[in-house]
Subunit: 331 residues, 2 copies
């Protein structure tokens, strides 16, 4: 690998001049500039990002910690963030936190030592204070799907309450009076917010909130199965179900089908992951603008990495995607 020294020698100038040419903006004579360019060309010289980083204390790298490197939810977030970041000449480094505090901490430390110029975090186990401390410690943080008081400027999150409201309202409009809510765990703030939206819609329609129609469990297929089984086994009356996410919906559908109630049960999921539309009957879902979240996260992180101010909105709006699983109450 050719170094700046080699280029300098070949071009007959000093390293300093070559460096100036590389970094564009300096005052260098046209003749020197030409010689340098030619030499760089000739040697196929590429500056070492490593050495640049050491010298400037800027790595042009953005770190990202996600809860699941695979999976339909984080994929599009990563993808759109990566695009934005790469277009800016930065590089994205992603690691998996798996939603576990320990792994998340390890992932973050890893990136700190690297280092990165900013971090995009989707962490659940990692405590609030530490996130704030991290940011104050000099590594700017963008926090996704989590809302820390006094730290709002660094957070990007969905209007979960409105999402819950949209889904529930639509089912009520369609005549359903008994709408169950199979939430994810209420330790997740998202779940609580969606519950609030659910309640708001009920109130608007003058329907009393029934605690016995609300369940919480894991945010996955098994959780969905368990909640739906309880719902049925306890003989709770219902004609519609609002699910905390699409995986829960999948699990619940399995149970409904076994009990031969699938076609009579109105259902709305959450996130609108890719396969929702492929199911049969297709699943209605509250669309989560994942790509937009990724883009905003990328832009925000870049701005912070360059200590620029940015006017990026913190709140994303959900949208109800109506499909087969939404229909009028049958009697």
């Amino acid at each position: 690998m050719a170094t700046i020294k080699d280029v300098a020698k070949l071009a007959g100038v000093s390293k300093a001049t070559v460096s100036r040419v590389i970094n564009g903006n300096e005052r260098v004579s046209q003749t020197a500039r030409d010689k340098v360019h030619q030499a760089m060309e000739e040697m196929d010289y590429k500056p070492s990002a490593l050495a640049q980083a050491l010298a400037t204390n800027k790595s042009r790298t953005i770190g990202m910690v996600v809860s699941d490197l695979s999976g339909p939810f984080f994929g599009p977030i990563m993808k759109s963030a990566e695009r934005v970041i790469r277009e800016a000449g930065y590089q994205l480094v992603v690691t998996n936190g798996q939603g576990q505090a320990e792994l998340e901490r390890e992932a973050i430390e890893f990136m700190l030592n690297r280092p990165v110029d900013a971090m995009i975090l989707t962490v659940f186990g990692f405590p609030e204070e530490e996130i704030v401390k991290l940011h104050q410690g000099g590594t700017p943080v963008v926090l996704l799907n989590r809302h820390i008081e006094g730290f709002e400027d660094n957070c990007i999150y969905l209007d979960n309450k409105h999402g819950g409201y949209l889904a529930t309202r639509r089912m009520l409009e369609l005549g359903h009076q008994r709408v169950a809510f199979l939430a994810g765990h209420f330790t997740h703030n998202d779940s609580l917010e969606r519950l609030a939206g659910y309640q708001k819609a009920l109130a608007e329609f003058g329907i009393p909130f029934r605690q016995e129609l609300v369940f919480d469990d894991d945010y996955n297929e098994d959780g969905g199965r368990r909640m739906c089984q309880k719902l049925i086994n306890l003989e709770r009356e219902f004609t519609a179900i609002f699910c905390g996410n699409d995986l829960i919906a999948i699990g619940a559908r399995g149970v409904l089908e076994e009990r031969d109630r699938l076609s009579q049960t109105c259902m709305v999921g959450f996130d609108d992951v890719l396969f929702a539309r492929y199911l049969n009957p297709s699943l209605s879902s509250v669309f989560f603008p994942v790509e937009e979240m990724g883009e905003r996260a990328g832009h925000m992180a870049l701005a912070m990495a360059q200590s620029k101010a940015s006017q990026i909105g913190h709140l994303l709006q959900p949208k109800l995607m109506e499909r087969d699983s939404l229909f009028k109450l049958k009697d």
Copy 2:
């Protein structure tokens, strides 16, 4: 941030000694070692991976280029590779190549300047010679899903022919005689190999190969739709369809359903992505051991990064997942 110098001063030793302690294996007196450890603790010292990389010419970083950062296929590959790599104390850097030569080249250059100790590539546009040259240039390359002659030791790929064979054979066993093949583009080697398996099965059953039952198009839902429409519009007789991947299968199913032929058409997809089992009727598919591929890729890249020999298998075996969409020929 505390540096090695600070630690040395606090511990009352030289930087060299601290460095020796950090890197374990050197001969350092116990007393010195203790003092250093205590000082590191006290200052919460973390060595700069950057400076280490510059000094040693090893970055403890593995780069990966995928064709799609989101999506059900690459997610699990990345996830398992990341786990393996992280457990070894290395870091994975992923970038998106989108299957486009230009982007792929850019992504690779990005990583070269970083630099990375090894690369895992899933690239389609990037030319063979350049891949080999890259490897010989000193950055070890692991190549996924592509098979370059004379470069086999660096490739990990699926036995596509066997996959095509398994799927087709099963449909023939179930009595189907007219099995269509909706492939991805035949510019992909994978497609050609699967075709070979398809033909092998036909031959075994003494059924003549009919070119008019084979179509090629994009490896996605739209491609599947188009191929299936052609198949039907051209009035080709068929009772079973083998699809080049699960997205093609999804597209084809859509068309079949519109024509009211879904329940009578036997179908097998390829890859066995997450949602195949969630479809209704559930989709049979040739399972692609993506996680194993990711793991092997990680191990192989690590071995290469450390110039160790590795005995990692290059060929992965597919498996047929039988679900609702596989059934006996109805008459």
